[in-house]
Amino acid sequence: MLPLILPVVLPLLAAFLVMPLARMSALIARALGPIVLTTSLVLLLPCCLDPPAQPLVLAIGNFAPPLGIVFYGDRLALLFANAVALFFLLFWDWRGGNPQQARQDALMLLLAASATGLALSGDLFNLYVFYELAAVASFGLVSLSGTGPALVATVRYLLVSAFGSVLALAGIALLYLQTGTLNLAQLGIDPEPLQGPAGLLAFGLMVIGFGVKAELFPLNYWVPEVYASAPARISALLAGLISKLAVLILLRLLVLVYGDTAAPQILLFLGILTIFFGEFSAWRAQDFPRMIAFSSIGQLGLVFIAFSLSGSWGVLAGIAVALHHLLVKSALFGLAHRWSGSLQALTGSAQRTPLAAALFVLFALSLIGVPPLPGFWTKILVLAGLAQEGSALAFTGLGAILLVTAVEAHYLFRFALQLYEKVENAPAGFRSFWEFLPSLLLGAALLAVTLRINPVADRLRAITQQAADRSFYITQVFPQAAAHRKDQP
C-alpha cells in the first residue's frame, strides 16, 4: 500500500530543514528541493500510469474516517498530485543566486506540499488548512522581488485572501452546525439537511472563500497585479496549478453533496461573469503578463461553467478544460519570463527568437480552440454540455463563451502579428535555451496530446467517471455505510 502521505509530508520536512541546512552547506540546501520533488514524483507516477482498481483510502493515524482525517486518492486526485510534483520540478528556480535563496526554496516546498494536500485530502477543514498554507506561501513568493509594486500587490492579494478565508471558515462553521462532521464522504451519505437554504448558504460562502484563488469574478481583482509583478515561474504555478486545485475542492462538494440543488446555477452565473470580465479586460491589456493573466481568468470562468453542468459530462468537460489550461497557461507564463515588458516593446521579436514566437502561436491557437488542437475538443465538450442543459442561463453561457472566444482570438493574434512584424532593431531574444525549456516541453506535450487524442480522451473519461460517481466515493470511505444503504432505497 503506497504511503499516500509521503508526497505531502516529505516536502514539509524538506521545507523545515532547508533553512538550517543552508547555514551549513548551500549545496545540499539547493539540492534538497529537487530531490524531494523527484521522490514524490517517483512514488506517485506508477499509480497514475496504471491506476489501481480501487482508490487509495488512507486514514491518518489509523483513526476511522469520521473521527480522523482521511486521504482519498482516486485517479483524479493522483493525476493532480502528479501534476503538482511534475510542474514544480519544471518551474523550479534552477539557477538560484537569489540572496534569500533558502527562504524561497522553503516557501516553494511548502506550496508544493499544500498543493498535493489539496489534491489528496478528503476532509473539509484539512482542505481549508492546506488552502490557507498555499495562500501564505504564495504571499511570500509573490513578494519575492521586493520591489514596490510586488509588495502592494501582495498586500491586496493578502487582504482579499483573508476576507475569503474568513467567509470560508464561516461556511465550515455553518456546515458543521448542521451535520456535525467534516468528512466529505460522511457529508455525502445523507445530503438532505444540506439541501436547504442554510446548506446552500454554506456552499455559497465556501465558493466565495475558495473562489479567491480560483479567480472567480468578484474576487479576482488581485490576478493582474500579482501575475505582472511576481516572478514568471511563480505566476505559472499559481495560475496553472493552484487555481485548479481550489476549484477541485468545490467540485468534490458539488459532486458529493450539492449535485441537484441550485448550487450549479450559482457557479454557472459566476462563471459567465468571470469569463466576461476576464476576456474583455484582456482586450485592453497593454503588457504581456497582464494579458495572459486576464486570459487565465477567462479560462477559469470556463472551468466553472463546465463544472456546473450536471452529471459526469460536466466533470469530464471541466477536468479537460482545467488540464488543457494548466498545460497552456504555464507554458505562456514560461514565455513571460523573458517577455515581461509591454506589447509594443515586443514588436518584431520573432526575428530574434522564432521558436518562442512559434510556441506562442501554437499556444494561442490551442487556447482559442482551433480544431486539430486539444483546446477545440475541450471547448466542444463544454458547448455540447451547455446545449444539452437547455436552461436559459445555459444558452446565455453558450453565447457568452462564443463571443468571448472571438474577442480572445482577436487580441491574441493582434499580438502574434506584432511579433512577426519586420522591425530593424528587434528586442533581445531569449539569452539561453534553458530559459524557455519548460514552454518547449509543454508545447511538445500539447502536440503529443493532439496526435493521440483518443487514448487520452478514454483515460480522462475513465478518471472522471470515477470522480463523478457519488455512491462509489461514499462506499470507498465508509464500507459499512454501503451495507446499511443497501436496505434503504
Binding site: P197, L219, Y221, A262, I266, W283, G390, L402, L417
Partner: protein, 621 residues
C-alpha cells in the same frame, strides 16, 4: 486505396513538398505537377456522374465519427479549387516569383500557404458531418489568414480584420453545432437531416441566423462584407487570384449543403416572418440582391484596380445565392453555373491587373493609361474578362446571368430582377472605368518602355480567356456538371443541350446568339478595314488637337477620378455601405473592455465581493 484516398494523399503530399522544397529553384514545377496529379485523381473519383465515393479512413474522436465523402457538389467545387490552384501557381512561378523574392518576401512561405489553402478546401468540400466540416472550415480560415498576412503592414491589418470576422463566424457555426448536437444527438449529416423536420420554426430561425451569418461572413454577404475587398486586394498576386476564384465560394458551398441539401428550399418558404409578407427565402434573396448592389457601387468609387475587382468579387457572390434561392431548374442552374463562370472571369481579370502591376509597378487607376499598344495580350485578357464580368453575350458570364434573370422573371419576382439589373448597370459602369483608365486613353511618358507581360504570366491568362469564350460559346459541358450537382442536391434538373437550355418558355441557344454576334462584328470589321481610306500608322505620343502639337505632359484626356460627376450625384446615398455597423461593433467591444478594466482599477473592490455574497444569500433563500 480508392481514388479519393489518392486525392487526399496527393494534396497532403503537395503541401508537404511545398513546406520542404518551397525555397528551391524547381519548387514551382514540382507544385504544378502536384496540382495536376490531384486534378487527375479528382477525375478518377468520377463522383460527378458516378456514385459518391467515400474515404476509406474515418476518425473517431470522443466517440464523434469524422468521415469524408465526395459527391457531385464536392467534385464541382474541388474542380474549381484545383483549377484555380494550378493556374495561380503557374502564374506565380518564374519571373513573378523572382521579383517577389527581390522585394524581400520568401517564396517558400507563399507556396506553402497556397498549398495549405488548397488542402484545407479539398478537406472541407469532402466533409460528411459537421465536425469535419468545422475542421476544414477552421483550417481554411487560418490558412487564408496566413496567406493574407504575408506582406505585413496594410496586409497584416486587413488580415487581422478578416480574422475578427472569420473567427466570429466560426464561433457562430460552433454554437449552431452545439444546438444541433443537443437536438439530434449527433453531428452526422444524416441524423440531423432526419431530426430537422421535427424542429420548430423558432429553432430553425436561430439556426438560420447562426449558420447564415457564419457562412455569410466567409461569402461576404451584406452586413459582413467589409473585410473582403482590402484583404483580397492586399494579398500577393497569385494568392489574390486564388482567393477571388474560390475562397469566398466555400461559404456558398456550406450554405448549399445545409440550407438547400438538408433544410430544403420548401421549408425555407414555409418559415414566415410574422407581420410581413416575407418568408425565409425572401429574406435571404433580398440580402443577396443588396449584396449585389452595395459592393458594386462601392467598386465604382475605388481608385485602385485590385480593390475595384475585389469589391466586384463580393457583388457577384450575390448572383449565385439569388440564382440558387429561386429554386427552379433554370434559376439554380444559373446560380451554380455562375460560380464557375465568375471564378474563371475573376482570375483572368486579376491576373491581367497583376501583370500590369508587375510591369508598371502601380495599379492606381489615376496614374495609368494607354497601355493597349504596349501590352496588347493583357488588354485582350482584360477585355474578355470585363465582358464576362458585366454579363455580355459572347462570354461565359452572360449565360449564367441570363439564366438567373429568366428564372427571376418567370417565377414572378420582378423587384429582385430590378435590383439585379441595377447591380449589372453598376458593374458595366465600373468595368468600363477599369479598362479605360488602364489601357485606353493617352500613354504616360514613364510607361513608354513598358513590355508585354512575361510568358509565364501570359499562358494562364490567355488560356483562361479562351476558356471564358468557349464556356460562353458552348455552355453544354459546364451545364452538364451543373445538372449533376442539381440532381445530387435534390433541385429540379435543367435540361440542357450543347448550346443552351430548353425550358417552358423556349430557352435559348448560345451557338446561334454568338454566331450572329460574330457575324455582325465581321461585317463591321469588313466595312471599317475594307472600305475605309488608306490609314497611316501614327506613333502614340504624336498627337495634335486644334492644330497644336500636344506634349505628353499635358493630359488632354479625362482619366482622373473617372465618374466624378456620377459620384457627386449618387455619392451621398450611401456612405461606405455599412461601415457604421463595423465601427459600432468595434466601439461596443472597446466600451465593454474599458468597463471591465475599470473593475480592475478600483482601489478597494471588496464591496463587489460583499455584493456577491449577498447575491448568493438572496439566490439561496
Amino acid at each position: 486505396m480508392n481514388a479519393l484516398d489518392l486525392l487526399f494523399l496527393l494534396s497532403g503530399a503537395t503541401l508537404l513538398c511545398a513546406l520542404l522544397f518551397g525555397r528551391t529553384r524547381w519548387a514551382a514545377p514540382l507544385l504544378l505537377l502536384g496540382y495536376a496529379a490531384q486534378f487527375v485523381a479528382l477525375l478518377q473519383t468520377n463522383a460527378l456522374f458516378g456514385e459518391p465515393i467515400s474515404l476509406s479512413w474515418s476518425l473517431v474522436v470522443l466517440d464523434q465519427p469524422m468521415h469524408w465523402r465526395y459527391d457531385a457538389l464536392s467534385w464541382f467545387f474541388a474542380l474549381i479549387t484545383l483549377g484555380a490552384g494550378f493556374l495561380s501557381t503557374g502564374y506565380g512561378s518564374g519571373v513573378w516569383m523572382r521579383d517577389y523574392e527581390r522585394a524581400g518576401h520568401s517564396a517558400g512561405v507563399l507556396h506553402t500557404a497556397l498549398a495549405a489553402n488548397v488542402f484545407s478546401m479539398v478537406l472541407l468540400v469532402g466533409a460528411e458531418d459537421f465536425l469535419s466540416l468545422f475542421l476544414g472550415w477552421e483550417l481554411l480560415n487560418w490558412a487564408t489568414f496566413f496567406l493574407m498576412a504575408l506582406r505585413g503592414g496594410i496586409a497584416a491589418r486587413a488580415a487581422l480584420r478578416y480574422l475578427g470576422y472569420a473567427f466570429t463566424g466560426g464561433m457562430a457555426i460552433l454554437g449552431a453545432m452545439a444546438l444541433l448536437y443537443a437536438q439530434a444527438g449527433s453531428l452526422e449529416f444524416q441524423p440531423i437531416r432526419e431530426s430537422l423536420p421535427q424542429m420548430s420554426d423558432g429553432q430553425l430561425w436561430v439556426l438560420l441566423a447562426l449558420l447564415g451569418s457564419g457562412f455569410g461572413i466567409k461569402m461576404g454577404l451584406l452586413p459582413f462584407h467589409l473585410w473582403q475587398a482590402p484583404a483580397y486586394a492586399e494579398t500577393p498576386g497569385p494568392g489574390s487570384a486564388f482567393f477571388s476564384a474560390v475562397s469566398a465560394r466555400m461559404g456558398l458551398y456550406a450554405m448549399l449543403v445545409f440550407f438547400v441539401g438538408m433544410v430544403g428550399l420548401a421549408r425555407l418558404v414555409q418559415m414566415e416572418i410574422p407581420y410581413t409578407f416575407l418568408n425565409g427565402r425572401d429574406l435571404l434573396a433580398w440580402i443577396a440582391v443588396f449584396t449585389i448592389i452595395f459592393p458594386t457601387y462601392t467598386a465604382l468609387q475605388q481608385q485602385d484596380a485590385r480593390y475595384l475587382l475585389a469589391w466586384h468579387g463580393i457583388g457577384q457572390g450575390g448572383y449565385m445565392v439569388l440564382g440558387v434561392l429561386v429554386g427552379t431548374a433554370e434559376g439554380s442552374a444559373g446560380g451554380l453555373l455562375h460560380i464557375f463562370n465568375h471564378a474563371i472571369t475573376q482570375v483572368a481579370l486579376l491576373m491581367a491587373v497583376f501583370a500590369v502591376l508587375y510591369r508598371t509597378g502601380t495599379t492606381d487607376l489615376n496614374r495609368l493609361g494607354g497601355l493597349v499598344a504596349r501590352m496588347p495580350l493583357t488588354f485582350l485578357t482584360l477585355l474578355f474578362g470585363i465582358i464576362s464580368l458585366a454579363g455580355l453575350p459572347p462570354m461565359a458570364g452572360f449565360v449564367s446571368k441570363l439564366l438567373v434573370y429568366r428564372a427571376l422573371l418567370f417565377e414572378g419576382m420582378p423587384l429582385l430582377f430590378v435590383g439585379a439589373i441595377i447591380g449589372t448597370l453598376g458593374t458595366i459602369l465600373s468595368v468600363y472605368k477599369l479598362i479605360h483608365n488602364i489601357f485606353l486613353g493617352q500613354l504616360r511618358l514613364e510607361h513608354e518602355s513598358v513590355q508585354e507581360a512575361p510568358l509565364s504570366m501570359l499562358i494562364p491568362m490567355l488560356s483562361l480567356s479562351l476558356l471564358i469564350f468557349l464556356a460562353g460559346y458552348f455552355p453544354g459541358p459546364t451545364l452538364s456538371w451543373v445538372a449533376a450537382v442539381q440532381a445530387q442536391l435534390g433541385l429540379p434538373v435543367v435540361n440542357y443541350h450543347l448550346g443552351g437550355v430548353y425550358d417552358a418558355h423556349g430557352g435559348f441557344n448560345m451557338i446561334w446568339i454568338v454566331s450572329v454576334l460574330l457575324a455582325g462584328f465581321g461585317i463591321g470589321a469588313l466595312v471599317f478595314f475594307g472600305l475605309g481610306g488608306p490609314s497611316k500608322r501614327v506613333h502614340q505620343l504624336d498627337n495634335y488637337a486644334g492644330g497644336h502639337f500636344l506634349y505628353a505632359e499635358n493630359r488632354y484626356q479625362y482619366s482622373d477620378h473617372f465618374y466624378a460627376g456620377l459620384m457627386h450625384l449618387i455619392g451621398p446615398w450611401y456612405r461606405g455601405s455599412f461601415q457604421w455597423l463595423e465601427r459600432a461593433l468595434g466601439s461596443i467591444v472597446d466600451f465593454l473592455a474599458h468597463f471591465t478594466n475599470g473593475f480592475y482599477g478600483i482601489a478597494q473592490p471588496l464591496l463587489w465581493s460583499l455584493a456577491a455574497v449577498l447575491g448568493i444569500a438572496v439566490w439561496v433563500f
